[in-house]
């Protein structure tokens, strides 16, 4: 067989495998694939202990190989891996989405135990379940209900749950930090050294330079001294010294990040997670 016939045969075979199917054939293919998948999982469960770490190492390496090769090997004219990346990204998104229930299962175990054993605060755990199912059901009913009135009601209820509860609860939780910052500024921030004084002066110039108060506080300064105006000082601090310092910190982190990345990719990393017996 010639090379072109060889390639043609592979593409016909590949085309036959990935061709879209419908009806009974589709159902059979899905069922068959599930059996094959179950078989793969059963094989993995039977892998002897001494081969487990090499399997994990091999999968970790192969997972990173595509992105590494896509960067290191390829040119403007020949880039098959770059063309493959959108599909690869979609596959990763789908597989990664299946991890969604991991956290949910944990939450259900904790709160389910609280409700079933009627421990202290079990009513809160019950509220957790009510809220969980309420917003989930409202969302699914609004998307899948056929009756317009039902989906319309569900849409309004979902909007109330999202905009009336989820959004404000989320925003408010985060905004509480502002109170703690104010309290810490008064009770904990002590200028005990020249370094902390420098830090405080920089912070003050920045805070005032970015808001109208700073503009008005130093607007009276004449033109020759305009560089002392808070907005100009603040801009210079950010673009000059701050930028240099941030870059120095980034250079320090860069090499370390590269080393850690290499260690993870080649499964050389140590630690409680990586050293655990498989």
């Amino acid at each position: 067989m010639t090379t072109s016939t060889h390639h043609g045969l592979w593409s016909i075979l590949w085309g036959a495998v990935v061709a879209e199917r419908h009806g009974t054939v589709l159902a059979l293919l899905i069922a068959g694939s599930l059996l094959v998948g179950a078989g793969i999982l059963w094989m993995l469960m039977s892998v002897p202990t001494r081969y487990r770490k090499p399997v994990v190492m091999a999968v970790t390496f192969l997972g990173g190989l595509i992105l590494a090769l896509e960067f290191l090997a390829g040119s403007e004219k020949w880039h098959p891996l770059t063309d493959f990346l959108p599909t690869y990204g979609n596959v990763q998104m789908v597989i990664g989405s299946f991890a969604l229930l991991l956290g949910i299962i944990n939450l259900f175990m904790i709160h389910g135990q609280a409700v079933s054993k009627r421990t202290k605060g079990w009513a809160n755990s019950l509220a957790f379940f009510v809220a969980f199912f309420a917003i989930m059901m409202a969302g699914f009913v609004k998307d899948y209900a056929t009756a317009k009135a039902v989906s319309g009601s569900a849409d309004s209820i979902f909007t109330v749950f999202f905009e009336g509860f989820l959004m404000p609860l989320s925003s408010t939780m985060f905004s509480m930090i502002a109170f703690y910052i104010a309290s810490a500024a008064y009770r904990a921030f002590r200028i005990r050294s020249t370094e902390s004084a420098l830090m405080m002066i920089t912070a003050s110039i920045l805070m005032l330079g970015l808001v109208p108060a700073g503009l008005y506080l130093t607007a009276w300064l004449p033109e020759p001294l305009s560089w002392l105006r808070l907005e100009n000082l603040s801009a210079w601090l950010l673009v000059g010294p701050n930028m240099a310092v941030q870059r120095a910190m980034a250079f320090g982190i860069a090499v370390g990040a590269l080393a850690v990345g290499l260690r993870i990719w080649l499964s050389l990393e140590r630690g409680s997670f990586f050293d655990r017996q498989l």
Binding site: V17, A19, E20, R21, L26, I30, S33, L34, L44, M45, V59, T60, L62, G63, L65, V94, F98, A99, G103, L107, N124, F128, A131, A134, I135, M136, G139, F140, D143, A149, V150, F162, G164, F165, L166, P168, S170, S171, T172, M173, F174, M176, F179, Y180, L198, I201, T202, S204, L206, L237, G240, P241, N242, V245, R247, G261, I264, W265, S267, L278
Partner: protein, 262 residues
């Protein structure tokens, strides 16, 4: 009846949302006074809503259109294997076969690590390049030279501080590292100032909602109303009384308040 309910909800949803949002805001802020059941209840409601919403949106915007519909309706049967791979996550709950979950976690960690070559090149090579600043006078004359010199001094002294490969014994190195520590404080001061600004912005957003959306639209007609003036006056009086009380009475050593201390 469903249609009546749907119409009523659609007509009143704005008011309902604003009142619910105000209730949630006050419930969460109540913990600032003291730990209480109201706060705990809404905290659990928040977790439930976030988890339930996460399930819904992951299905409706990811798994549904990218996995289920192509597999079942578009005939792309091979997507089943994505579910097989995804099921490996749940071996985390098996004592005997927990290692299988490490395979899929390892895959994702490997993908992230594999991108580091491109990451290092794309992020840091331009950074190194733009650090080579010219000392020649530019559009702003000698000010450009001075700026470049200041940049080099700050960059090298801050980098020296982070250089741990050898001890900073030599006086020149020690002095440079010490100066670097000083200059790092400028960066930390900038971060602190920006953090204060960011966190206060979040609080301003909530207070803006409480005052201009809830209070102004649902409670008082406008800021000139007598109700608002009475409430404002009461708030000022209470605040002054609290401050005077705090100053006049020494603070109790063993406070009964259970809200977390900073």
């Amino acid at each position: 009846m469903t249609e009546t309910m749907a119409n009523w909800l659609a007509a009143h949803s704005t008011s309902i949302i604003i009142w619910c949002a105000a209730l949630c805001t006050f419930a969460i802020y109540s913990v600032l006074y003291a730990e209480n059941k109201f706060y705990r209840l809404f905290e659990h409601i928040y977790i439930g809503l976030a988890a339930g919403y996460g399930v819904y949106v992951t299905w409706s915007e990811l798994l549904g259109p990218k996995w289920w519909i192509p597999m079942v309706y578009d005939g792309q049967w091979y997507w089943v294997f994505a579910a097989v791979a995804g099921s490996m996550f749940y071996f985390m709950y098996s004592n005997k076969h927990v290692w299988i979950s490490r395979v899929i976690f390892g895959f994702f960690m490997g993908v992230a690590a594999g991108g580091m070559f491109r990451g290092f090149y794309e992020v840091y090579f331009p950074q190194i390049g733009s650090s080579m600043k010219s000392l020649a006078p530019g559009a702003n004359g000698w000010w450009d030279t001075a700026s470049a010199l200041v940049f080099y001094v700050l960059l090298f002294s801050a980098m020296t501080y982070f250089f741990f490969s050898f001890e900073h014994k030599h006086p020149a190195v020690a002095a440079t590292a010490r100066a670097g520590r000083w200059f790092l404080m400028i960066g930390f001061g900038a971060i602190f100032g920006a953090t204060v600004m960011g966190r206060l912005t979040l609080l301003i957003g909530r207070l803006n909602f409480l005052l201009n959306d809830w209070c102004l639209q649902q409670v008082v007609p406008d800021w000139k109303s007598i109700y608002f003036k009475i409430i404002a006056a009461l708030v000022v009086v209470v605040l002054i009384a609290l401050i005077v009380n705090s100053i006049a009475r020494p603070k109790q050593k063993n406070s009964t308040s259970s809200a977390s201390e900073e």
